[in-house]
């Protein structure tokens, strides 16, 4: 049973991940990401980490991907990007190098540190599954206190960043640059609409 659930959720996770890479439409990619996150949540349930499973859906699917979707809508998704343009020079070779090294790292770990699929449980659990919320809390607020407070600071810094991005400039708004106005006039949808 466990193996069956694992295989199904692994397929869900991996197909979602592939979908993120291959989807042309950014909103579809975000939805595939949600699929992947759900698969990971099921994997957490399988490991009896119920709290983490719920948090996975609540925070990642419920907040982070919603944030992504807002950003996608902020940018306007219907404009298909020209994939021939590199916004940052040299990002493609760099991405290839980083990707290859990550893949190499993963392969090394799998080959060296794991002796294949044994099917045996990873270790003896220290408490029963219903208890893991409490145990997690105990670990967080005794040994990991410093990290928890750092998380709070990190999140606050993110807000400061958002403020810097989105703040209103004081004073009157500048008129639109001429180029932008010209673009609006050239809008093909409007040009074709000859009702007269």
């Amino acid at each position: 049973m466990e193996v069956a659930v694992f295989i199904v959720s692994a397929v869900v996770v991996l197909s979602g991940a592939l979908g993120v890479l291959l989807a042309r439409n950014p909103v579809h990619a975000a939805l595939f990401l949600v699929q992947t996150l759900f698969g990971v949540a099921v994997l957490f349930v399988l490991l009896d980490a119920t709290f983490l499973a719920a948090v996975q859906v609540m925070v990642y699917a419920g907040a982070i991907v919603i944030l992504f979707l807002f950003v996608i809508m902020l940018l306007g998704v219907d404009r298909a990007d020209d994939l021939g343009i590199e916004p940052i020079a040299g990002q493609r070779p760099l991405a290839a190098v980083v990707g290859m090294s990550l893949a190499g790292l993963l392969a090394t770990v799998l080959l060296v540190a794991v002796d294949g699929l044994t099917g045996a449980p990873a270790g003896t659990p220290i408490g029963d599954a219903g208890d893991n919320t409490r145990r997690l809390g105990e670990a967080l607020f005794t040994d990991m206190v410093f990290a928890v407070e750092l998380t709070a600071i990190l999140l606050t810094v993110a807000v400061v960043g958002a403020v810097a991005l989105a703040r209103r400039l004081s004073g009157p708004m500048q008129p639109l640059p001429v180029v932008a106005i010209a673009e609006v006039d050239d809008d093909p949808d409007e040009a074709t609409g000859d009702d007269s």
Binding site: A63, I66, G76, L140, F141, A152, A162, A166, R167
Partner: protein, 121 residues
């Protein structure tokens, strides 16, 4: 199979039945309803005139700010939950550290507030 997985299994069964039921509704609907499509029917509603311009427009950056603030408080809630279920073991030390945690995050909220980001108009 572990005890807890069984509890989740019940939920999966319940969710599966829900999906089937909704599917059955939609299937039944597609069997009995008429279909006389014309190109005019497939035009989106725009107060009775032909739709103008792009269909997917850009949204306001303020929505992004609120989504980010939501991430902040969602993560905060996630840290609070395990702490709240086991208050008695943390004592005064735990209380002080939670107060600091909430204070730092509240600073983020108040900063955005002070800078006028929570103002809609």
């Amino acid at each position: 199979m572990s005890d807890y997985l069984r509890n989740w299994l019940t939920l999966v069964v319940f969710g599966g039945v829900a999906v089937l039921l909704v599917g059955a509704f939609l299937g039944l609907g597609s069997l009995v309803r008429p279909s006389r499509q014309t190109s005019q029917k497939a035009v989106v509603y725009e107060s009775g005139v032909d739709p103008q311009g792009d269909m997917w427009s850009q949204s306001n950056i303020r929505y992004y700010v609120f989504a980010l603030m939501f991430v902040l408080f969602d993560v905060e809630a996630v840290f609070i939950f395990p702490w709240a279920t086991r208050l008695e073991v943390y004592d005064v030390f735990g209380l002080v550290e939670m107060a600091i945690f909430i204070f730092i995050l509240a600073l983020g909220l108040f900063y955005a507030w002070r800078k006028g980001l929570l103002r809609w108009i």
